[in-house]
Symmetry: C2
Subunit: 476 residues, 2 copies
């Protein structure tokens, strides 16, 4: 039969070319401006308005990648990337993901590719062990772990499971009937608000708990708000605490929040999207004190553990809540393994049905680095951030907003908000570094997030120099 | 600084080895049994209970892939894979996905990597053109397209946007207050029921509309049920029609359903997860007659368009409903491009915040094959399915349940349900082919889904021989 497929031989040739292209990219990445400098429409307008009728060569495509796509890339893997939260990766992860693409299997249920389910269960057990998570989070206990795409999906999954538990599964059946209230702090990630909307809770029923001077949730205010809601006839059902908020890396007091949740019978979700990675190091585990009171926890190896997007690890203390909430079994997916009850069908642990073999890349990363190798690099990032914070404190021009618990430093120039934004924009536009801002207590604050795979002290030192040069410009 | 990272040199070496490994896999794929033959726990128990403390070599990992993982793989890319719906892929797609892993960028908003947004917009416009979708679905119109992970997520996105439109955004604010009713047929994909649960609608408020003898939705029953709901004080808000249901590839009458939706002011979502691909061919576009009445449509290039999972294309006729429903703008994501209104921020078009650069693989696939190459292979799959259906009809042992509109054939042996299951299980366990069953009108029906990238007539012919041999066994 006539065929337009690329042959294995062509794949060998082009694949190896692309491997070299990627290796070259990392070797030369510092030649690119970190933040893309194009204007809206620049890429779109260079692409033809219609798809080609006849096939094109891979070489043409790779040339277009270089000429059209690359100028529109903001280089998240550049060692001068200090913006937002990281999304770091590593070569072993890229290879694991390539293998996943190559095998092209579906892990929606055990039967559709048993290895995809069983490797995922094992690797999530490994991580639970490496991070000293509570025994209930292991597959040998009542709970277990699953890979989700993002912490947003984990938050939604947790909130819906909590909603069902609180309504005795009536909301799944009859729909939400109002009155349910959930609790976050003003610093909780925006995905929780999005989840409250999607899950039919409503953002007005998402209570915003006060924070202390370090932007951590105030448990007394949480207790007060839950009590006020009960008195008004509302049904409190869910609290989200955070290990390392996005704005300022604030650490919520998990034990105190967890005790309130146990007492009040509320689902306690812990979001450790970036900072959860630090639990791999024993010296940072004090941040997770009280985790045994949590019903669910997530962190993202695709942020700070050298595993490329998407890879969010989500654990529950009791998997039956997920299965009761999300299980659906149409005839065309029925099979003996599922009916035996001896296997995990991960489709019942999240929103989607189809699922990629994502544990491969995580397995490759953990095995390549070993737990000691991972600890080494996490500690290096924290050390670089702390060194930068000390430098900020040693300079009269700057104010350190709070001592950084881990690898995110919040600071500001002792000038106006406009000055701070101008410093940031100028440095970002010059292209050697890229960092971003937030607002804390109504003021613009600059954020340095140190977590790129290739970041070394010299990259942080470069930023120091650029900051001083910008201040010099403002003063003159 | 001491480093545990894999070097670019090591990546070149191991990456090329892995490219060869994948090429070998496809060249030798027919040596594997399609359906994995392991028992629950076989993979899990071969993996160490704890992560290694020290790093391991890539060669060790690849050996474990071969010895531990491969026996637990069900080979979705095997040309004898006729099960479920396909999840086909191709070498250009694997390369596009590798490039995406290698660049490791985040496309959550335009500013975080403009090319990721703009390529996606362009490629979805290409597809809208290739499939003759309505003008409103193009980015130049009021709507536009976005890549989601799965059709499940698209269904949830559409249902929540519909819910907000119907409640004038009150449900996002105050939560769902009951009374909302949605409509599907008994053949609609289970993800719609899951979406109704997650979105706080409740599965009792998901009305199941009757189907005709070809399992297509009966528009008169839809009209009756909407009317009955209005009389009961309910608020009908959403209908899902399907191009090619999962069980039997039934085609809902989109125009009639769409006219009812317009008249009743309900959101009309069209799910073409697998069969939508056929719209690339002009001769199959009659299946989409009435699409201009739809508010949203999705299909999965990761099913039947040689693009590896995950890649679901989702279009809306009016993007403002998505943005009003899902938009969230925390300070730390504020930027000039977003505030100018001149760019698309895709985070507001779906559930998640973070997003992978998935348009690369789709771009590579479309450019490698060209629209004519894609048409050629889609037509080949349909032709093979039709040839098989004719064979079924020509044999007295079998019953063809209905003429296949595209590439899915539903048939049964003229014997008991147990006989049919036994035939299927025996063939699947032997390993040369893998196909699955469903239940239609209370009877077990066998399904042949012809859509694997490498499937040729000889693979379908092999299945014919195996079927006859099993029947021979039953008769003796």
């Amino acid at each position: 039969m006539n065929s337009y497929h690329m042959t294995p031989g062509q794949f060998r040739e082009q694949g190896k070319k692309l491997i070299d292209w990627i290796a070259d990219y990392y070797e030369e990445i510092e030649k690119y401006p970190v933040l893309s400098q194009i204007r809206p429409g620049d890429v779109f307008n260079k692409l033809p308005a219609k798809a080609p009728a006849e096939g094109e060569s891979f070489d043409t495509m790779l040339t277009d990648v270089e000429q059209i796509i690359m100028p529109g890339i903001t280089h998240w893997q550049h060692p001068g990337f200090f913006a937002y939260f990281p999304s770091n990766t590593s070569f072993p992860s890229i290879l694991g993901d390539l293998l996943s693409s190559g095998l092209g299997v579906q892990g929606m249920i055990w039967a559709t590719s048993p290895a995809a389910t069983e490797l995922e269960t094992r690797v999530l057990d490994w991580l639970a062990d490496m991070m000293a998570l509570p025994a209930d989070f292991r597959s040998a206990g009542k709970g277990g772990g699953v890979i989700q795409d993002t912490a947003s999906s984990s938050a939604l999954t947790a909130m819906v499971a909590a909603r069902e538990k609180a309504t005795f599964f009536v909301s799944n059946r009859k729909g939400v009937q109002g009155k349910l209230t959930a609790y976050v702090s003003s610093q909780t990630h925006s995905s929780l608000e999005k989840a409250a909307k999607i899950a039919g809770i409503g953002y007005e029923n998402l209570r915003v708990v006060a924070v202390n001077e370090n932007f951590a949730m105030d448990p007394e205010d949480l207790r007060r708000q839950i009590s006020a809601d009960r008195q008004s006839g509302n049904i409190p059902f869910f609290v989200c605490g955070t290990i390392g908020t996005t704005s300022s890396n604030a650490m919520d007091p998990l034990r105190k929040i967890g005790e309130i949740c146990r007492h009040e019978d509320l689902w306690f979700h812990v979001d450790g999207a970036m900072s959860g990675t630090a639990l791999v190091c024993p010296e940072f585990r004090y941040l997770a004190d009280g985790m045994e009171l949590a019903d669910s926890f997530c962190f993202n190896p695709h942020k700070w553990m050298f595993t490329n997007f998407d890879c969010d690890c989500f654990w529950v203390a009791d998997r039956k809540h997920l299965i009761h909430t999300f299980s659906i079994l149409p005839e065309y997916l029925r099979n003996q393994a599922t009916e035996s009850g001896a296997v995990i069908d991960y489709r019942d642990w999240h929103i989607q049905l189809g699922r990629r073999f994502r544990s491969l890349k995580l397995w490759f990363v953990i095995r390549h680095y070993g737990s000691e190798g991972l600890r080494h690099h996490i500690r290096q990032h924290v050390a670089m951030a702390h060194e930068f914070a000390q430098w900020v404190q040693s300079r009269g021009e700057f104010e350190l907003i709070m001592p950084p618990p881990l690898n995110l430093v919040c600071f500001r120039y002792r000038g106006s908000d406009e000055h701070n934004m101008q410093i940031m924009d100028n440095i970002n536009q010059a292209g050697e570094c890229y960092f971003t801002h937030t607002k804390l207590d109504g003021r613009i604050v600059l954020r340095l997030s140190v977590a790129q795979t290739g970041t070394e002290s010299r990259h942080v030192d470069k930023l120091k120099k650029l900051l001083l040069a910008e201040i010099e410009k403002i003063r003159n």
